[in-house]
Symmetry: C3
């Protein structure tokens, strides 16, 4: 795929600021500011990066407002993020479409309903009573358990395992090697042994949810573990039984949510965060990386630290933590000085 700079400007709805000769140069890819070559278009989303663009070899740059005195073709757009997504889509590698049909090595059970346009890859096992909506793709090596449902336009990457009674909406993506509907970690200690609490519930994953690779989402003990519409989940994330996640949340890599946690809408959990069981987090609250949340928290908060507290207070605590050796030395000196003052007082007294 190649487009002239002028053609690209038209494709992404940009105002082009370039000389007539430059506008005819070809662009074949999107590149980073530092790594782009003449045939790449790059972009500036951060004002601090404007300086670096001058040194970039990129043939053109997508900007939110015209950069003065920049001897480079500029594609001026209202929303750089949106234009970047457009440009990346234009230059995306052309991959073979998965096509339609069921690989003959797949095992399809009884009472399975597969809509038109669906692709079922090699070695896939689909148990009885499963329903798969139109144009969904289930790649090689997947397992879909009894009575589970997939909506339309889903993409289930290779070797994903979905247990029984799980329900995925439309346009759901599950990346490779993830496990949906595993039995949760719930045991009662009875007569000297840990007895598994049966997990009668399922998992409900709503429309436009995207789940990374090697994630685990446990089924509920009763009711459902629920992932709200539009929520995006990174790789290696653990979501325990009966967790309920709201809409449009972002859950970064290696986060762990213990049983029965409830997140509102638009919650953001950064990498390696952990939530204790039964924690409630309000809408739009953000939790910084590696934090450990052990108390419920309302909406529109920002938290950090183990245990997680308000981020501003956390910054104060950490600042004082890092200078704690000096503070402790001050205290030690103060003790001496106060002793001397006390001794002087007593001598006088």
């Amino acid at each position: 795929m190649r487009l002239t700079i002028a053609q690209l400007a038209q494709r992404i709805g940009a105002e082009l600021v370039a000389g007539p000769d430059e506008a005819k140069s070809y662009i074949t890819a999107v590149g980073g500011v530092e790594t782009a070559s003449k045939s790449d278009v790059t972009f500036v989303t951060d004002e601090k990066r404007v300086g670096a663009v001058g040194a970039s070899l990129a043939g053109a740059v997508i900007v939110g407002s015209l950069i003065k005195d920049l001897p480079k073709s500029q594609l001026v757009v209202k929303n750089v993020d949106a234009a970047l997504i457009e440009a990346l889509a234009v230059f995306a590698p052309k991959l073979k479409a998965p096509g339609e049909g069921i690989d003959p090595s797949a095992r399809v059970g009884n009472d399975v309903r597969i809509a038109k346009g669906v692709f079922i890859g090699a070695g896939v096992v689909i148990d009885d009573g499963v329903e798969i909506g139109a144009d969904s793709v289930v790649k090689s090596g997947c397992k879909i358990g009894e009575k589970s449902k997939l909506g339309k336009d889903c993409r289930i990457d290779s070797n994903v395992v979905i247990g029984h009674n799980c329900s995925l909406g439309n346009n759901v993506i599950v990346q490779a090697n993830s496990t949906i509907g595993s039995t949760g970690f719930g045991y009662s200690f009875i007569d000297g042994e840990h007895r598994l609490i049966p997990h009668n519930g399922g998992v409900v994953i709503e429309d436009f949810v995207e789940i990374g690779a090697n994630c685990c989402i446990d089924r509920a003990k009763f009711g459902n573990t629920i992932i709200g519409a539009g929520t995006k989940i990174d790789n290696l994330v653990q979501i325990a039984h009966n967790v309920v996640i709201g809409k449009c949340c972002l859950i970064a890599g290696q986060v762990g949510l213990a049983g029965s946690c409830r997140l509102g809408d638009g919650v953001v959990l950064a990498g390696q965060v952990g939530l204790a069981d039964n924690i409630r987090i309000g809408d739009r609250t953000m939790v910084g990386a590696k934090s450990g949340v052990i108390n419920n928290v309302g909406p529109d908060k920002k938290l950090a630290m183990i245990p997680a507290i308000d981020v501003k207070e956390a910054l104060r605590v950490v600042a004082q933590l890092l200078r704690l050796p000096r503070t402790a030395e001050q205290v030690k000196q103060l003790v001496k000085r106060v002793e001397e003052l006390e001794a002087a007082k007593n001598n006088k007294g």
Copy 2:
């Protein structure tokens, strides 16, 4: 599945306290106190929840002792946890039994011994010399390496990979996408490169061990990595080479045990805990979530924090940590006040 409340009481061995009409109402599922409907039975394990039960729509409630003035059918049992497990088992979704036999797409090597009642799913690869005990289930896409042994009544979920020379006892469950018998992370830096230390050992998993989804258990360099009988392991857990875990331990999600750690019996590690290599932990010791254990610890301890210390001391440390900005401000003021006192003393002196 539906039972009248009276039938359910009989099934779970409960004393029924209900009016004769109520006793004939049908129950079809177990539900949470807040989410249950008329056709659900709910339960109270925590005295603090007694109040919430009054507002529950549940048709009946399993209790440890009669709740006074509760206008709801009560099933009074000695052990609510045990009765809940019974009730959940009664109403568990009825799934197709895996049946017996070897899917024709499976690859079974030479000298493999497969007992009666075993199910081997589609695409499973079983290498030479493997033994599988009666009534075990190996679901689709699994790989079982050379000379590995599974006992009776095991359940190996889809896409689990078990390497060579691994030994699983009876009634072992391994959930989907887990890897047993991976080569551990052991390198010697020799002549300018990291050279892998061969891992000649295996993995021994004893009876009634349950392993979650997407876990990794490395084989030993020599001898065996051992998981003791009755131990339960959650999802995404990393167990390194030569680790030895005792009986009836609980290892929560995303825990990591570095090489050659040894846990006693009944040890509990909460979510995202990490142990440094060669750590010893005594019987029944519990380690709080996100802790980092860098020192050996005896039996019957409770630890928390990074680095992990006694939980009571950890609570004191964290309490002071959170008020550290105020303490630091006090120190700053003290320095001023002591300087003034010293100045006054010197002026007088």
Copy 3:
């Protein structure tokens, strides 16, 4: 496999110090100092362990220098680590070689180039345009995406999923259930929804890289995510889009690197470490377990803690943290004592 102690000494290039009868005893395995039996050879890499060797039942011991008065056959070598690797290789379990050929259940696309000596296991799916170098092994259940390339002598364990446009060098090992080339976690919030940023880039894994089980390495948004030659990665590691890792790094279990991090050569990250996005770490720098790195760091540093700071300073901080309850009590007492001094001063004044 069994060798006399004399034969073993010859095989690993050791000077043998043993009586003539002892030298004829057979050794069949390598064992740990505490667990070895008469037919095992053990080893001492740590001077502190010399004492324990006296009590070992091992038939022989590999040592770096002769241990005086030890009534046991000694194999004296220059480099115990290297000799241990040799000895483990001698006694490694003999496994069936994977052989050459493509399992008939594998799906091989168009324009695929498979060199001689390659083994492709059951249920493997190889998309169009893939190239696989000589003597590489792709075990059962793997998926290799469009136009990806594997070099010579690679070993891809069962159920690994490699996406399109990924490039693996020679002698690369990827252990079971890992995912290479997943789409990264990059979203722009546009018009009220999180829109995925297309990931046009690939993954480049250089020669002699070894990747553990259940790892995730995301493809780049543009350009490539790169793992430098000789780098070794443990299990359950998350490597986000556009990360660039240098040569001969060691990345321990459950580490997470956020987007666009850059590691120099020889960097060591211990277990459960997390790096914020865009972090730069210089050559040979080591980061202690569970640390959270939020600032760039130069070469040859040692870091620890959340947030990660110089390890020596971190030790001081943690030491003071642990005694913080006592320090806080001292401050409380100081406040009282200063108040008394002030009162006394004022009374006199």
